[in-house]
Amino acid sequence: MSTGRIVKVSGPLIVAEGMHEAKMFEVARVSEKHLIGEIIELHGSEAYIQVYEDTSGLGPGEIVESTGMSLSIELGPGLLQSIYDGIQRPLDVVYAKAGHYITRGINVPGLDHARRWEFTPKAGLKAGEPIGPGDLLGEIRETELIVHRVLVPPTVGGGTLVRAPERGAYAIEDTIAEIETPNGTAKVALMHRWPVRTPRPIVKKLVPQKPLVTGQRVIDALFPISQGGTACVPGPFGAGKTVIQHQLAKWSDAQIIVYIGCGERGNEMTDVLQEFPELTDPATGRPLMERTVLIANTSNMPVAAREASVYTGITIAEYFRDMGYDVAVMADSTSRWAEAMREMSGRLEEMPGEEGYPAYLPSRIAEFYERSGRAICLGSEGRTGTLSVIGAVSPPGGDLSDPVVQATLKVVKVFWSLEDQLAFERHFPAISWLTSYSLYHDALRDHFHAEVAEDWGRVRTETMELLQKEAELKELVRLVGVDALSPQDRVVLETTKMIREDFLHQSAFDAEDAYTRLDKQYRMLKAILDLHRRSIEAVGKRCPVRKLLELPVRERISRMRYIAEKDLAQFDTIAKDIEEQLAGCLKESRTGEE
């Protein structure tokens, strides 16, 4: 630890001299107000510090103290249902202390240190047993939905358990167990600290196996993401990035959600805050908030803390992954994070790369996404946990050649491309079916075939082929008009219209439509494709397209999104209708000819 004096202030960057023992990425307290900052460059005894709070009113001569610690957060029970700023200050506590505005120099711990938690030790755990990092000590029911598994933190080395944990109510700093390690006796509490920029250790990574089911038809059926996978949602403003992120946070089947609002709108975070406690988890009926941690560093909050917020979020996610949970991180938007890096880089007078972004932008982005994955966690149990990351990107003007988009696409496996033309037509989610992709089809094929339907892969391929064909036909129509198309091609256009309007289009605001289970998604697509196959046959037998458009079953198909999950038998009657009505159509046109 060392003490120095400010010599320069330039926006969120300050320079202090006399910092002889300072280390890179160490946290420093700046001025009498104790503003929080982090050392990001060292020149001799001069330390360059990015300050996480507003620096107006600071000047040369004021005191700077380094704390000897890198930027760390508190991990332990009490994380769930919290809303934090970028450096883990709980915003509700800040509100209680400081009122409506975030004033400077507020110092509040990330977790409630007074609250006592009911702790149940792992059965059969006795003193004298060997124990190591990641081993289970006991459990706390943190919320109705989530059991908090108390593990030996990775900061404690392996050794022998000398004091076994006992049942009881503990505050998070109370010692619950003691471990004899080669470096002395380590006390284990419910809480430990972890530096956010360091990934938490795992035993090894595994390839993804299961889909992260989101209930969003265009995603699950056409461009699925796996549990432990990575996805990126770029798009211009107004294309619906945030709504998609909200939908995934609400409906995806991850057990823990960490939602990072990085440099986004204040009201949007308020929306999440007010809505999540009212929404219930479809599986358990409990409020969704019980499985959620929110990080809100809105656009008007200090820019340096925005840079830290994505690391704070993913560290919390890793902590729950270590317990063996399926965790999903939504980061909205990573462009703001990149811009924060650019701003600091500019202040440091670094040589800029593309568009003024620092040259290390791609490596920082890659490092962040690589903290995702399905992994065997530390500990003798061999638990597996997954950590999925879904990052929104806000490229200027929706231009995908933006350096942040390009750097992200290099590392993520799923690309959901939002198109403003679709958004103008209020086709939501505005995910383009032509440019998006998912590289998880092969990894997930077995799961879909076993859990949903044998021919899931074929149905998907057929749908994609039709949509591709539609794009070609539309080019043609633009040149020669719709009348010049063959009847078969016109049937294709009618079918793809159904796919678009009755399947891909999904309302986030309708109670029944907002979430669709996989089996229903399959039945919906199957119905459309059945009708298509039969219609192609019919026009082959010279049934006029006009007749096919009048079939009453089309009306039923357009309403199938409202079929309740328990009434899936209705799809059988739709299938029956298709058979009967097409047979009728054929018969009629045959009679017509005679």
Partner: protein
């Protein structure tokens, strides 16, 4: 202790570099006295050891190295606030410039403000009726929202902003309201248009004006929206008023910011604008909304609704200014040149326009139960009509299918009857929805897929009704 320095070392653009300063702080306010005794104000942009970089709001013309002196005031730029501000005119830095009596300040507030804690906000969901169908029906404004108008040269954004200010009411509420108007770099005539409009409608006593005209100092503009929002925050959250803030033209503000950035030789982002433009704009736009009340579940009296106006250089929506604005604000109202050319007022391009807070501001008890479905249908049908029209341009009308023709007819009627209205026509939301229903009646019933059947039964005019 106030010390005067005459140690100016360099002057470049709006910036002054000072040497051998004992103690200066970041963002501190300074007073500059020119050789002739003229007083100017500036603020500290950077302190490096004993060197201080200062930005002079009124510009550096006439500032010399030898005789000009600089005093550090030990505080940031502040605005003196009081309820008597209503009806008064201030300059871009917040000093009164009308002939009114001296203002007795209730207190002084730093114009930079503090960020609102997202936890302390209340989600806006109270419908504001602007009386303009294209806004109320399709891109609904709610109290506490920030909804910019994206315009361009020669388009009637001033008329539209003035009409909104004139007509904006909340259904069934008779609370106290105020308008804060910030003019940045606009012409005398434009500013006068607003002032005259406020006077004619008798709204002037509820208005606070901050005026920085095109010929006023450029750098002063950087302070103007902040001064205006400080006044708005005071009126809204300390005096319990519902404040509508109109800021025009944000493009001039951004250009002033660029001027300073270039003079500082900063590494530019896109089109020469500084890399921190997003953050800077956010500290302005985010100063809007509603706050939690003292008791749980209560809303504090008062609100700030923002309508910034910006002109898109070259009508380009992807220019950094509209682009970054769109990423911060809760939607946008885009004006369209071709609609304007064909005589449609207000020329609102409804398809790319958007109100993000619409979903929770409309529906039963707020506007009407069928509002969401109907507006969805209108959007979908208009989009299809516009596409069909494009097709007709290439292939000729004859090549269109019957249903496409119906959509073309719909799109034309939609522009002529729904979007088009008078500058003083104040349509109720019921009337707006009624016109909407009359228009969808032009379409085949089977195309009304986005509206629930019950609403179609209840609201669709029967044949002969229209």
């Amino acid at each position: 202790m106030v010390t005067e320095y005459t140690t100016i070392r360099e002057i470049a653009g709006p910036l002054v570099l000072l040497d051998r300063v004992d103690h200066a702080t970041y963002e501190e306010l300074v007073e500059v006295e020119l050789a002739g005794g003229e007083q100017r104000r500036g603020k500290v942009l950077e302190v490096d050891h004993d060197r201080v970089l200062i930005q002079i709001f009124e510009g550096t013309r006439g500032v010399d190295i030898a005789k000009t002196s600089v005093r550090f005031l030990g505080r940031g730029l502040e605005l003196a606030v009081s309820p008597d501000m209503l009806g008064r005119i201030f300059n871009g830095l917040g000093a009164p410039i009308d002939d009114g009596p001296r203002l007795i300040a209730e207190k002084k507030i730093d114009i930079n403000g503090n960020p609102i804690n997202p936890y302390a906000r209340v989600y806006p969901k109270e419908f504001i009726q602007t009386g303009i169908s294209a806004i109320d029906g399709l891109n609904t404004l709610v109290r506490g929202q920030k909804l910019p108008i994206f315009s361009a040269f020669g388009l009637p954004h001033s008329e539209l902003a003035a009409q909104i200010a004139r007509q904006a009411t909340v259904l069934g509420a008779g609370e106290s309201f105020a308008i804060v108007f910030a003019a940045m770099g606009i012409t005398f005539e434009e500013a006068n248009y607003f002032i005259r409009d406020f006077q004619e409608t008798g709204a002037m006593e509820r208005v606070v004006l901050f005026i920085n005209l095109a010929n006023d100092p450029t750098i002063e503009r950087i302070a103007t929206p902040r001064a205006a929002l400080t006044a708005a925050e005071y009126l809204a959250f300390e005096r319990g008023m519902h404040v509508l803030v109109i800021m025009t033209d944000m493009t001039n503000y951004c250009e002033a910011l660029r001027e300073v950035s270039v003079a500082r030789k900063e590494i530019p982002g896109r089109r020469g604008y500084p890399g921190y433009l997003y953050t800077d704009l956010a500290t302005i736009y985010e100063r809007a909304g509603l706050l939690k009340g003292a008791k749980k579940g209560e809303v504090q009296q008062g609100s700030i609704t923002q309508i910034p106006v910006l002109s898109m250089p070259d009508d380009d929506k992807t220019h950094p200014i509209p682009d970054l604005t769109g990423y911060i604000t809760e939607g946008q109202i885009i004006l369209d040149r071709s609609l304007n050319r064909s005589g449609v007022y207000p020329p609102i391009a409804v398809l790319p326009s958007l109100s993000r807070l619409k979903q929770k501001g409309i529906g039963a008890c707020k506007t009407r139960e069928d509002h969401a479905d109907l507006s969805n249908q209108l959007f979908g049908a208009y989009a299809r009509g516009v596409q069909a029209k494009e097709l007709a341009v290439i292939l000729g009308e004859a090549a269109l299918s019957d249903s496409d023709k119906a959509f073309v007819a719909f799109a034309d009627a939609f522009e002529a009857r729904f979007i088009q209205q008078g500058q003083h026509e104040d349509r109720s939301i019921e009337r707006t929805l009624e016109i909407g229903w009359e228009l969808v009646a032009l379409l085949p019933r089977s195309e009304l897929k986005r509206i629930k059947d019950t609403y179609v039964e209840k609201y669709l005019p029967r044949e002969g009704d229209v």
